[in-house]
Symmetry: C2
Subunit: 625 residues, 2 copies
């Protein structure tokens, strides 16, 4: 516990609070945009937190004992950056000339281009779920006493993801997670849903298992007392501080007034505000230093040798099973952690859970929190694998997109993709996951067709930076590759090739098997077809594709168990047309219908992506000659 607060502490905090307000106004006015009033409401909370409670070595942002400070309300970036000035890591000049400018690290919403920022925020309702992931790592893996402080806006509490986060925080007894709700009553376009109804907030967060404190967010002594209690992590509940505040607090012309969201004060108004707030200040304040920084289970590979599972050629094994096998094998690395959305017996993440229960985290059916937890583990240096049905990653697309901005290194594995799943019907069929994941900046998209490649690619993913996604298949198909084969990301495999190839068939996952069957049909008719296993959809093997196009008269049949937009076919065509003047004769087979139920085989046929259709398409291309 920090030492009892003194009058001098409070006087300093009051001054610092005013400085944070003044700097929030100055920086946003200088930038001509930003959210000063949303910053001013939380200035007193941050003043006391930073000067008295946050344990942080500002000169060593990588110190593993540091507390975490996340602005889930990322639009309050003027306040965050003003804090960075107050602790002496950002100069007043940078604040005044950099904020929101081209090339500056002081972006409109915080991102980890700054060393003191863990995750990108600005899409609301994400900072708290991300914090859950960090707190899980702190409590269960590192066993370190750091705390995760998350500043939330009141508007964002309407996001369901906030409740997913509190639910998991209480389920996992994350006493090291402290959310501060800055309840300033005003959203962007008017009053929030619950305004200052702190009773409703209290009932809700308490019902979700949190310890709640209701305070006046401008009463410095109350803030100090509450932060001290909240910072005690010896309990078994997360904490939510419900701070009633005034938006624009401290400047009478905007305080608690509508229509001031996201608007900088005009220069002359900013001058009046600075005067009313007592003028500019340049206080330099530092709070307590971090505690122990030696984690019990550090996030290192630890030189562990991973022995991947081996499958016999021809053995029928589902790629999802191979994923589970490989993940369990990767568990020898202490930095590998896994989590799943209550379908681990389908994704086969349960193999890892059985072997390494201490590094497996059940997220139940809450895919947003599933991905956010992975981001949190990534912040602490772990290598998270998160799995669910491929279709249900659509639930977390905003989190995946933001994870890329967060520079997170996370691995997503989606099973049961495409019409191949059969009887369950379209709600369970991922038919847009490849498009969704390809469009994420810097992403990797993999789609193995057999157990050997699925296992090898799982291992590749462990060391991959950024957002990696692997699509796995429900059904069991023959193992095509020997365990000695390698599967570099960005590569492909040419499974059939001859000098007289007339057409190239390109598939991945289940359609690769259909391509092979089609090639057999065609061979029976004297038509030689090249077959490419495009297991790496992004990055893509341009050289092999270009060579195949050149060798087969530019005739390509592209086959995917996915809607026609943005998937494998699109990846191939984008790659080839990105290489200068190109001649192409494409047949693109994809799922252009709204499928229903049936067997996987029936539905592949119904969708026009089975071997017969592939062979027909190849014949069609050749008939045009």
């Amino acid at each position: 516990m920090p030492a009892p607060v003194t009058d001098a502490n409070l006087a300093l905090a009051a001054e610092l609070g005013q400085q944070l307000r003044v700097d929030s106004i100055r920086s946003s006015t200088s930038a001509g945009s930003g959210h000063p009033t949303s910053s001013m409401s939380a200035a007193d909370l941050l003043s006391v937190l930073v000067s008295r409670h946050l344990r942080y070595d500002w000169d060593q942002p990588q110190h593993s004992g540091n507390d975490h400070l996340i602005f889930s309300k990322g639009h309050a970036s003027p306040l965050l950056y003003s804090v960075f000035k107050a602790v002496g890591v950002v100069s007043d000049e940078e604040l005044m000339t950099g904020y929101r400018r081209l090339g500056s690290r002081l972006e409109g919403h915080p991102t980890p281009v700054l060393p003191w920022v863990d995750v990108a925020t600005g899409s609301l309702g994400q900072g708290l779920p991300d914090g859950v992931g960090i707190a899980l790592a702190g409590k269960y893996l590192e066993e370190l006493p750091y705390r995760v402080w998350v500043l939330c806006g009141d508007s964002e509490v309407a996001e369901g993801s906030i409740w997913e986060a509190l639910d998991k925080a209480s389920y996992y007894k994350l006493s090291n997670l402290i959310a501060i709700f800055d309840i300033n009553r005003l959203g962007q376009r008017g009053p929030t849903e619950h305004e200052w109804d702190t009773e409703t907030y209290q009932r809700r967060v308490t019902a979700f298992g949190a310890r709640a404190f209701v305070i006046d967010g401008h009463d410095l002594a109350a803030i100090d007392r509450t932060l001290a209690q909240a910072g005690d992590i010896s309990g078994n509940q997360p904490t939510v501080i419900l701070a009633r505040t005034l938006k624009g607090k401290g400047f009478s012309e905007v305080e608690d007034k509508e229509n001031w969201h996201g608007k900088p004060l005009p220069p002359e108004m900013a001058e009046r505000a600075v005067i009313e707030l007592g003028g500019e200040r340049n206080l330099l304040v530092r709070g307590p230093m971090p505690g122990d920084g030696v984690p019990r289970h550090p996030a290192t590979a630890d030189g562990a040798e991973v022995k991947l599972p081996v499958y016999d050629l021809g053995q029928k094994v589902a790629t999802r099973k191979a994923y589970g096998d490989a993940l369990a094998a990767l568990g020898v690395r202490p930095d590998v952690v896994a989590m799943d959305g209550e379908v681990s017996n389908s994704t086969f993440a349960d193999e890892f859970a059985a072997k390494y229960p201490e590094r497996y985290f059940e997220m139940f059916i809450a895919e947003q929190q599933l991905v956010a937890a992975a981001v949190g583990f990534s912040v602490r240096g772990y290598r998270p694998f998160a799995s669910t049905f491929a279709a249900f990653f659509t639930r977390a697309y905003d989190f995946i997109r933001m994870a890329a901005i967060s520079q997170a290194n996370i691995r997503l594995v989606g099973s049961h993709a495409g019409v191949e799943i059969g009887a369950d019907g379209p709600s369970q069929m991922a038919l847009e996951d490849l498009a969704m994941l390809r469009a994420v900046h810097g992403s990797t998209v993999l789609y193995p067709c057999d157990a050997t490649s699925a296992a090898a690619l799982t291992k590749e993913m462990a060391d991959r930076e950024g957002i990696s996604y692997m699509r796995t298949t429900r059904g069991a198909y023959p193992t095509l590759y020997d365990a000695a084969e390698t599967f570099p990301v960005g590569g492909s495999k040419v499974l059939r090739s001859a000098d007289d190839d007339q057409v190239t068939l390109i598939g991945a996952g289940v359609t690769l098997h259909e391509c092979l069957a089609a090639a057999d049909q065609l061979a029976g008719e004297g038509i030689s077809a090249r077959v490419i296993d495009l297991y790496s959809v992004k990055p893509i093997d341009i050289a092999t594709l270009t060579a195949a196009a050149a060798a087969t008269g530019d005739r390509l049949v592209l086959v995917e168990d996915h809607h026609p937009e943005g998937g494998l076919g699109s990846a191939v065509v984008d790659a080839l047309t990105g290489e200068g003047r190109t001649e192409l004769d494409i047949a693109h087979l994809a799922v252009r219908i709204m499928p229903g139920s049936g067997t996987g085989e029936e539905l592949l046929n119904e969708a026009g992506i089975s071997a017969n259709h592939i062979a027909d398409a190849a014949r069609g291309l050749l008939a045009k000659q």
Copy 2:
């Protein structure tokens, strides 16, 4: 209120409950897949509901006074279809030979290919938010006494969207919404998070503003009493019935046992089950008939003449402003409703809200519920427009995908797209929305460049079937089109064209203006460039694209304020390569960086999609000759 329950009623309900169990087992065993145990837990609840409380004319599923019955736990489809048999609209033969088979309407999870199903479910946590939309229509637009009964699984209560739904249901005092939580304690891979802790459930739903009843879900008298109370819509709260049940109830070999989720009973086991449950039955049961079906504000266009706003050529108007203007103009149609995610003063939906407050619904910052509400309004025949920042529709991708399966007709409008937004930074930049929406089955994707076309396309969307999406821009750009121009979906505009065109520049939205500026630059060098405004990204104007390629030596510069995957460039290349053997010489300019802050102009330049880059790309294509 229904008449007091009699012993005969209860005896019938008991028999019907057993029949529903037997038929759930028989149908899933015959199909070889499905979820019998998840059906059996809720059989008593459905038996009493259907026989005594649900007001439904089964011969007139379109009767506008009918109650709604939504299986948010869509995997309990055997139970739902067994109910359909019990009320006589599906034969035992269809149930036994159709369930989960190819071409059958009895799909693995319910979809509206059945006339008694309102929305597709199977992605959990969506039926209740959809129900909120229906209940909003019933209470505020139609003023009809129908009730919306939603059966939820206990696992799905972990989805944040359930809490978004309850929050909005209580905010809007939806006493006509009744959720029944089937708390059978077991999820897919083991116990649920809260098992039978009905106290926790009760605290949570009560805190979220619902009236809660905790009952034994197999006590028929208690069920009847509670449904009668729940069905009284005179209050001002939604209702949640917390029914403690047994998974697999009624068959001792599976009742309350793990490892029976989503598994049909093997035939010999099914036989034992049917015996234990008292054998097959063929009860035909109907409950009460619907009440009044004449809505106060019917969902008709009412012959209203829509007078779109008119803009002067050259006048700088943001397309988001034109959307707001056009939406307000469309308000003369009583079937048009609007909703927004607490940013209506940015999307300009506030113009509609000001003019037609009774048909505007504020959804606050809860994008999943935003889209689900639109789906609900669509179920009742209204024409919903839902708006937020384009980036934040990623939050609702699973809902958008499911809306397509639901055959919903909804209109989504995303503002502030791309790096053009400038200083706010990447969290607010939609750079994957076109890819995301293109991949939705049957979707329409529009991206107007000026106010005239934005207004015209807003009107086009009103009558469009399926999922329509329009991307609007933050900044104000010159009006290019006269009010007399038409903008059919699937069309494009050729803005510059000459016989000696050497290259085609294709853009949409903000990049169209950059293309025009580039064409001017090139014209100064004697290079004639064709310019196409691709305002309809899906469907796409293949004829115009093909003609342009043919006329300009296949040289195309494709420019988009979007990541390179799956957007405008991909749409053009897919279209052209879908037309047989094609020669293409493409320069594809897209956002290949992770942008930061800056002005819109700076960031367009930084991303390489501004006029100078376009002109350079055109020169590059020509230099290769």
